[in-house]
């Protein structure tokens, strides 16, 4: 009998350090585990616990997937202590993910903060995989300090093919890019407001102020795609933890256009 609450085993192959608190975990998916970019999974350590993460790898790769994880809680701490090889559990993927077809032939502005770059990396790689459909990509990334900025090498590569601006809240002596919160690098200089979408992923406070700034710049509610961070525990629309207004974020999200959220009084709580 199918049991929706049980994970399938996955093999952890490699752990890559991204920053002092962030690591990327690479799993082999020989059993054909697939996801759409922006969907999330429940990753579990048998006997320890389970937590929701959005994969950070290219969804077109069928043999492996990656999850970038910040050490912030009980489960992530145990994950960070792991050594390869190890067997973990995965359930999902859950949610709807990014609606790539809606982005087709549009300018795409991608705004990320901190470990919020993880789901965005998967999105960027998915977009890069279809260069004919997605040409105009603009990246705007922020982190607290240069040390907290992840995917530094890849960002260098990405900057060669698209417009990329970086900022940190607090710079060090080597930092040559912008200093300030992510809203300070948002503008419409090279954006055609009539034919664009903007995707935002980061800590709740950053999402809030980025959304306000984007609205101020003239973006419409329907053009702003937000990744809502809620306590998704079951991923199946049953456990009740991730409700916002009439939605279970795990099932109707986690990506929402702002027009669906703006009238919910608890949207920024």
């Amino acid at each position: 009998m199918k049991n929706i609450y049980l994970p399938i085993p996955v093999a952890l192959e490699q752990i890559i350090d991204e920053s002092a608190t962030i690591k990327t975990f690479r799993f082999s998916s020989n059993d054909g585990f697939r996801f759409k970019t922006g969907q999330f999974v429940e990753l579990s350590l048998p006997g320890i616990g389970e937590a929701p993460f959005t994969p950070s790898s290219d969804p077109n790769i069928s043999t492996r997937f990656e999850i970038t994880i910040m050490n912030v809680g009980r489960v992530t701490q145990a994950l960070h202590a792991l050594k390869t090889p190890a067997t973990l559990g995965v359930r999902g993927p859950y949610g709807l993910g990014y609606p790539l077809e809606e982005f087709k032939n549009k300018q795409i502005l991608i705004v990320g903060g901190g470990v919020g770059l993880a789901p965005l990396r998967s999105l960027i790689l998915a977009l890069f995989a279809r260069p004919a459909d997605f040409k105009n990509i603009h990246l705007r990334f922020g982190a607290r300090t240069p040390d907290d900025l992840i995917y530094k090498q890849e960002i260098k590569e990405w900057s060669k093919i698209c417009d990329c601006v970086l900022t940190v809240d607090k710079a060090d002596s080597d930092w040559k890019d912008n200093v300030g919160v992510v809203t300070t690098i948002l503008d419409t200089d090279s954006i055609d407001l009539k034919n664009c979408v903007v995707i935002v992923c980061g800590p709740p406070i950053m999402m809030k102020f980025a959304t306000f700034k984007l609205l101020e710049l003239g973006f419409k509610d329907k053009q702003i795609y937000l990744s809502m961070e809620k306590n998704m525990s079951c991923g199946l629309g049953k456990c009740g933890h991730c409700r916002i207004g009439p939605f279970f974020v795990c099932r109707e999200g986690p990506v929402f256009t702002f027009d669906k959220l703006k009238d919910l009084p608890e949207v920024w709580d």
């Binding site: 009998m1 199918k2 049991n3 929706i4 609450y5 049980l6 579990s44 350590l45 048998p46 006997g47 320890i48 616990g49 389970e50 937590a51 910040m70 912030v72 809680g73 009980r74 489960v75 992530t76 709807l96 800590p203 709740p204 961070e229 809620k230 306590n231 525990s233 079951c234 199946l236 629309g237 049953k238 456990c239 009740g240 933890h241 991730c242 409700r243 916002i244 207004g245 009439p246 939605f247 099932r251 109707e252 009084p265 608890e266 709580d269």
Partner: protein, 351 residues
């Protein structure tokens, strides 16, 4: 096929024994002025409980704590429950909606997940409900637009009339469960059927007489009252006595929230499903530290938004059946009727 039968009171025990042959049957036992479910055994004297049990009906199908990684309900003997009331049956619709994966209005996907353990138990569950013959001070089903006798959701229903019961079959499952027992029952007389109707009108009249003061406002306006009351200052007043025990959640017939928990049992890894409570401080907290429900007032409000806004929006039904269990259990004397009444009065002032 006859829908109605008459069962003499002296045969109630035989009736239950007959059901228990093929079911794990739960019946009530009285303790002080409450009723509790116990598994039927021949030594027990059957009790026709006057009103709903202390614990919610959901607890028989979805236990408060259950190991789920080695569960196989298809091997379990079918469950039967004797004499749940209309409030409990109505609340099962909420559990069904969530765990059987019925499509919510706001869901964008068609293919919803089914909790197969729940499905298996629910499918086999035999419901032998009963009319209320009494009520508790906290019973306010009438305020939620429900009657103190079942109108749907049962396989068999019993209505107590003096010396016996008018028994009503509602489903084929009910008839099948009593196949072979019919000879112990008779065709009800017109007088017996009339008595049933009379008893039903009488209990409504009695409840209405005790209800008006606590009647929280028209049932159709409840969603609007709660929604418009989102920013009401009253939430802070209501929560002042909340001690975050989660009692209102755990005793609630419609609350469905749970968490999955992993633990080590010796060398074995176990996964458990446990009821969770949205009145707990960390219910909505994410690992990153953000907590959308970071105050008691927000958590209390969240409970009402879920029951009186989310569910009517998605299912077209309130997730409250007026059973009053949350009122009874609350050490802080937080009363759902008073909250709804206050919000409704505030709505009237706004208009």
């Amino acid at each position: 096929m006859e829908r109605f039968f008459y069962l003499q009171a002296k045969y109630l025990k035989d009736f239950l024994s007959f059901i228990a042959k093929n079911h794990r049957l739960f019946i009530c036992q009285a303790k002080e002025d409450d009723y509790y479910y116990v598994q039927f055994s021949e030594g027990l004297e059957p009790v026709f409980n006057a009103y709903r049990t202390f614990e919610p009906l959901k607890s028989l199908i979805v236990p408060a704590k259950e190991r789920i990684d080695n569960l196989n309900p298809s091997k379990e003997k079918p469950l039967a429950v004797f004499n749940p009331k209309h409030c409990d049956l109505n609340a099962l619709a909420i559990q069904d909606f969530i765990f059987l994966g019925q499509k919510p209005k706001f869901a964008s996907v068609e293919d919803l997940d089914v909790d197969t353990s729940y499905e298996q138990r629910r499918k086999n569950l035999l419901i032998i409900s009963g009319d209320c013959t009494g009520y508790k001070e906290v019973c306010w089903c009438l305020g939620m637009g429900l009657k103190p006798y079942p109108e749907s959701g049962y396989d068999i229903n019993l209505s107590f009339i003096d010396t016996g019961y008018v028994l009503e079959f509602s489903t084929g499952k009910g008839r099948l469960a009593l196949k072979g027992f019919e000879r112990r029952m008779t065709k009800p007389t017109n007088e017996q059927m009339h008595k049933r109707e009379h008893k039903r009108s009488k209990i409504i009249a009695d409840m209405q007489n005790s209800l008006p003061e606590l009647y929280p406002g028209p049932v159709e306006a409840m969603q609007q009252a709660v929604k418009q009351g989102f920013n009401s200052a009253s939430w802070k007043e209501f929560m002042l006595t909340c001690v975050e025990c989660g009692g209102c959640n755990f005793i609630c017939d419609t609350c469905h929230c749970f968490l999955l928990s992993d633990e080590k049992r010796g060398k074995e890894n176990a996964r458990l499903k446990l009821w969770d409570a949205c009145l707990y401080a960390n219910f909505a907290k994410v690992a990153g530290g953000a907590n959308p429900l970071d105050t008691r007032a927000k958590r209390l409000r969240n409970r009402y938004m879920k029951k009186f806004d989310f569910f009517p929006d998605n299912l077209g039904k309130y997730a409250c059946c007026g059973c009053g269990r949350c009122i009874e259990v609350c050490p802080g004397k937080i009363d759902i009727r008073k909250i709804l009444k206050t919000l409704h009065n505030e709505l009237l002032v706004k208009k």
